[in-house]
């Protein structure tokens, strides 16, 4: 019985990363209609930044350094997102699909090598927050507090985005853009600025996910590839550009993954893709797509 609690908690833990990554992807897709293939690279920037900050303060630094790293990661990824949007993505809004996809594909290659250029090809370790937080006892098992912290952090981030999207003026304008671009423009909404903002928020969320992963996994080159593919699945499952969809999708994928790893590790990954494909065949717009 306790094992099941562990599996489900692990599923929640996986789901938190997926949620943060796919939320960003989904906002960008929903507001701008652009599938950001470079999203995984923004995740990677966050991971490297956080690992570098935490690592460079050494072993004696207080735990608050972790939060410094977290915000630094969100800042740099968000900044990178702003730069990307204003320089490369903006001229693409009226172009055909293949150009939109290829420009982010080009950005992906560019950023991967920029990371290599800045931080070198070596791995960065930052396991301190994980060890400091210790374990709690759950029945017969011990469970890392850090995992629970990650779940909490992503809930906070999700709530924050939900509040912005549903309660503030900016959020309402963003939703208006994603519903009808031309009409929103006709109503006097300044689409350009809001696009940049949405891209920045999405990128910062990816950076946050990256920062949260480094205490358990070293920051390596190509660290963003897996999260990107997983986030695709989540977005496909949940529906393009839907916040609720990103939440439900990441819960499904996270739990399937956590339980799949235990019972059928061989086909856990293909199974996930198959679920996504089946849902797309029967519900082409995803579970919560409009």
């Amino acid at each position: 019985m306790e094992n099941w609690v562990i599996y489900i908690l692990n599923g929640l833990y996986f789901a938190s990363f997926l949620f943060l990554t796919s939320l960003g992807l989904s906002i960008i897709l929903g507001v701008m209609g652009i599938l950001n293939l470079a999203h995984g690279s923004l995740f990677a920037i966050g991971a490297f930044m956080a690992a570098w900050v935490i690592g460079s303060f050494g072993a004696k630094a207080p735990i608050t350094i972790f939060f410094v790293g977290l915000f630094a990661a969100m800042g740099i990824s968000g900044l990178m997102g702003l730069v990307l949007e204003t320089s490369l993505i903006r001229p693409m809004y009226h172009r055909a699909l293949e150009y939109q996809l290829l420009i982010t594909f080009g950005a992906l290659m560019l950023i991967e090598d920029l990371i290599k250029l800045v931080w070198g090809g070596t791995a960065y370790y930052a396991s301190k927050p994980f060890t400091v937080m210790g374990n709690i006892i759950l029945g017969d098992n011990q469970y890392p507090v850090y995992f629970i912290f990650v779940v909490m952090a992503s809930i906070v981030a999700g709530l924050g985005v939900w509040l912005i999207m549903s309660k503030t003026r900016v959020g309402i304008m963003l939703r208006a853009i994603s519903m009808d671009r031309e009409m929103a423009r006709a109503m006097g909404i300044r689409i350009g600025k809001l696009n940049t903002l949405a891209f920045g928020i999405g990128a910062a969320l990816a950076g946050m996910a990256g920062a949260l992963i480094v205490p358990t996994t070293p920051a390596l080159l190509g660290i963003g590839m897996d999260p990107l593919i997983m986030a695709f699945i989540v977005v496909v499952l949940g529906g393009l550009g839907s916040l609720r969809g990103a939440l439900v999708g990441s819960l499904i994928v996270g739990e399937t993954r956590s339980i799949g790893i235990v019972f059928f590790p061989e086909i856990e990954l293909p199974l996930l893709f198959l679920i996504a494909v089946i849902i797309l065949v029967f519900k082409p717009k995803g579970l919560f797509g409009e």
Partner: protein
């Protein structure tokens, strides 16, 4: 009615026959892999340029062709003859592209792209996970095949590649090109273009849109699988990486580099991309920076690609050129 273009093609074909004399062995091998990518590019462009569907999962179909050869070598070494291997690879890509196509053509635009990507990752994950059968991430080694009764055992790969195999490859390339030209100029090809330009109107005049898209996907998959099978002999090794979405992205890149509005574009693009990538890898460890920056510049400055740019240069006086001014409007 032989048009001047025919003589240009013929001239290029004759030039290709002398390539082994002109290029050093290493360059020739690179050129051969470019040719196999070109065959794939022809197939890919049938879908993109003529049907208006952007697949982001064509790497999986390429891998199908390559793995068909590898698996035949692993499990049926007696049948390891090129005249059997090529049909088997085509059959395998027929099956896989029929399954992919059946699912994908229900959607268009970005849904189609994501769905193709997801399906290609299914194949990738299967190739990696079932390592007992597929060799996992190590892949499968490809031996030299028996070609029309002639065995090449004991021969070095580069000797094989600069000898008999080169001429075989060039002939297959010519056959594929002619075949693809015939397809795009046939009533079927015109029907595909009408679907691309206006789906509803095409349906109104009695074209079965979804079925034609499926046929187009399958044909495209056959060419791609053919490219994969021929490539496997050049490369000597197949890995799941060719099914990964990064490679699928590179296929789109190649096509854009050459110019997808022009029939010959993917051929030019595939060969250029092969050299560009290898050149970038050889001069710096930051080769992705070069490739990525090139891609971005291309999208921003030369969206019609290199071959497309040439065509535009020479047909500036013509108001409507035959390279297709009308292109899918993604709404």
């Amino acid at each position: 009615m032989l048009r001047p273009k025919f003589f240009v093609y013929l001239g290029i074909f004759i030039l290709l026959l002398f390539m082994p004399k002109l290029l050093p062995v290493y360059q020739l091998m690179l050129f051969e892999s470019g040719i196999t990518f070109a065959i794939m590019g022809l197939g890919f462009n049938l879908l993109l340029r003529y049907t208006g569907l952007l697949s982001f999962g064509h790497g999986a179909l390429f891998a199908t062709g390559a793995y068909a050869v590898g698996m035949m070598g692993k499990y049926f070494p007696d049948l390891y003859r090129i005249e059997i291997l090529i049909p088997v690879a085509l059959l395998a890509s027929l099956v896989v592209s029929a399954i992919f196509g059946f699912i994908c053509v229900r959607h268009t635009r970005i849904f189609f792209s994501i769905l193709a990507l997801a399906l290609s990752m299914v194949l990738y994950a299967l190739l990696v996970k079932f390592y007992d059968i597929t060799g996992g991430s190590d892949g499968i080694h490809i031996d030299l095949p028996i070609m029309f009764g002639k065995s090449f055992e004991g021969m070095k790969r580069f000797e094989f590649l600069s000898g008999a195999y080169y001429y075989f490859l060039i002939c297959m390339f010519a056959v594929c090109t002619i075949f693809m030209l015939a397809i795009v100029n046939s009533p079927f090809g015109k029907a595909l273009q009408s679907i691309r330009d206006n789906e509803i109107r095409a349906e109104m005049i009695g074209i079965r849109v979804r079925r034609y898209r499926l046929y187009s996907f399958i044909l495209s998959g056959l060419f791609t699988g053919m490219g994969g099978a021929l490539w496997s002999f050049v490369n000597g090794h197949v890995t799941p990486e060719s099914a990964e979405w990064i490679f699928s992205g590179e296929i789109v890149y190649m096509t854009l580099l050459g110019g997808f509005m022009v029939f010959e574009g993917p051929i030019v693009g595939a060969i250029l991309f092969t050299y560009l990538k290898l050149y970038a890898v050889s001069i710096t460890q930051y080769w992705m920076l070069i490739i990525g920056a090139t891609l971005i510049l291309l999208v921003l400055l030369l969206p019609e690609g290199i071959a497309g740019g040439f065509v535009k240069l020479f047909s500036r006086t013509k108001k409507v050129d035959d390279t297709g001014t009308a292109y899918v409007k993604y709404k």
